[in-house]
Symmetry: C2
Subunit: 366 residues, 2 copies
């Protein structure tokens, strides 16, 4: 092998930028993407015990947090990098930025590096819909959407396209956010009702979705807003000291979570005692736990976002990208003609600074 002149090739790792993911969504259409994500996440939740689950690894700082969320089954490993910096919007940056990697468990090869800022919004909404399919009244048509920031369009359209929500009752403390949401949804058949308060938005809703972002230990939903038969989809209470629901709302009906060990730290149930009863969603999906048991029951999905949802989303987007020929190769890992010759990647130039005639001799002690 002429290692001195061979240019190293690379292991094939695919890359998806936000524009690539947008292209996938534009090509398939949002309804198909949401329906596909709901089914992908459900299929993975149904094989929950097959996954090696870890609580997220968080690095806290004065302004926010940076987290890694790894998960694996016997075949595929994924992780997500995600930050949470509430002050970022004042600098023109997103509160949450994310990317992720999908790798082959057999060899450790990273197969995909993908943006997950956009994809996380898609998978979070798909997870909310999957939960609502199991927990909300089947005839739900009106949803309150409290918090009209960057997640809100995704929640709105996932519930519209997959669950059949026809009317949204909108509220945000920032009127500009609501105006932005209404502009972005103007091209749909959703009826949009701008409301004057969270209580106003909740009035007459079948489902209340909370996706507020920047407030600590807020009480967005109080017991007075909750009517029999409602389903509450609490998405914004998702880290320690960040909650949205009054404790009595959590006591109003059965509470469902993704992964209890994580939700008890990060979710709205962080307010409750360690033995406060919660049901993991996967058990409702596979029929081993009861979901909604009566039309007049109040149900609560205390969503925090779990690594398995990113696993499902990364696999789904990779399949879409491969089928559509979208994405680019990323030269991340060198492919070596001789796996023991990593040095060959440096080519000829590296040792030149000290290049002299070789002085080698053989030595054959016993």
């Amino acid at each position: 092998m002429n290692y001195l002149t061979t240019q190293p090739a690379h292991i094939h790792t695919a890359f998806l930028s936000p524009q690539h993911v947008a292209e996938i969504v534009q090509t398939r259409g949002l309804p198909a993407i949401f329906a596909g994500l709901v089914e992908a996440i459900r299929a993975d939740f149904l094989r929950w015990p097959e996954f090696d689950k870890t609580a997220r690894v968080a690095s806290h700082s004065a302004n926010g947090v940076i987290e890694l969320m790894p998960i694996a089954d016997a075949k595929t490993y994924t992780f997500k990098y995600v930050n949470g910096h509430p002050g970022n919007t004042q600098r023109g940056l997103s509160t949450v930025m994310a990317f992720g990697v999908l790798a082959d468990v057999d060899t450790g090869t990273p197969l995909l590096v993908s943006e997950l800022t956009l994809t996380t919004a898609l998978r979070t909404a798909a997870t909310s819909v999957m939960a609502a399919q199991a927990l909300a009244r089947p005839d739900s048509r009106v949803m309150a959407l409290i918090g009209n920031g960057s997640q809100s369009e995704f929640q709105a359209l996932a519930f519209h396209h997959v669950l059949g929500i026809e009317e949204l009752r909108l509220y945000d403390i920032d009127e500009a956010a609501t105006a932005k949401l209404m502009r972005n949804l103007a091209g749909t058949s959703l009826r949009l009702v701008k409301c004057s308060s969270a209580a106003d938005a909740a009035r007459g809703a079948d489902i209340i979705t909370t996706v507020t972002a920047d407030k600590s230990q807020a009480t967005i939903i109080t017991p007075g807003m909750v009517q029999p038969g409602m389903h509450i989809n609490g998405v914004g209470g998702d880290c320690p000291s960040k909650t949205e629901l009054h404790a009595d709302v959590l006591r109003a009906g059965p509470v469902f979570v993704e992964y209890a060990p994580q939700s008890r730290v990060e979710g709205d149930v962080q307010q409750m005692a360690a033995d406060f009863p919660v049901t993991e969603l996967w058990q409702v999906l596979n029929g081993t736990a009861m979901g909604r048991s009566a039309d007049e029951q109040v149900t609560v999905f205390d969503s925090v976002g779990f690594a398995l949802e990113d696993y499902s989303a990364l696999r789904f987007m990779r399949e879409q990208a491969l089928a559509l020929g979208i994405g680019e190769p990323l030269p991340l890992i060198p492919a070596l003609a001789d796996p023991k010759d990593l040095f060959s990647v440096l080519g000829t130039a590296a040792p030149v600074a000290n290049r002299q005639a070789p002085v080698a001799r053989e030595n054959h002690h016993a």
Copy 2:
């Protein structure tokens, strides 16, 4: 803002491929790169208490392991993804593949995605040299290099260029590996002595470096090979059930480690009782612990590789890349004109599948 027609820009994340890193090394020269890395790692070890240190997060499978190694100070966060799959070489893949990310702690923005397969080999050798500067006899000129695989050229050249090693005594159970190493070092002034066994290689050496890879609980170095005054640089014993040094070699002199909680699980000291004395290297560097105390002493550096070394290497390579204008932008994170309008990344096409006349109305309950 015309969110319907604006193409989203991206947060500036830089990307370094193995070829980019090779270009940096070729431009600066290996001696300068090793010297720079040794100083960068030393500077960071000297401010050890400033770092938020975590043991690595490992996902084990039948064939190997995938790990995430995060670390942060108040300003910079990094993590490394690295696998270890001993069977990979039989498939033409590297045993170890790695990449990493450097991010801004203040905002969570990922600033650099970089290959770390090549860079890890560079930083591991630089760390070994940094330890040897503190622990080996200053007049060390002859090094045994046992294990002539993908790490060996890097160890050889770092010790040659930075520590002044003039003669290498080489041994590997795979003669082809030794032949490859000798070819790759042919352009240097190092004297290369091919030896017939590990014991033969150790004979007359001032430093013994072990970088064997694929064997579990091997005993590469036995007490009979160790002479007074030697420094042992044990690099290959770096995960649970993977060791290189006989327990009595560890008892032959003081043992130094990077981060004791990790080394007691992964290093050669995993063989020893939990109270077996080890000294963390940073304390030797800052003068609060004793390094070598006499010429005839045997010293052992039980290296496993710590996240801080990757932090230093990522920062160092980023500085080099910025100074030399090497690297490419990676569109990983969308830059939003309105941080609350993530939906704008999808452009106009997404909701089209259900585009109808908007049906919005205002609602002004109190």
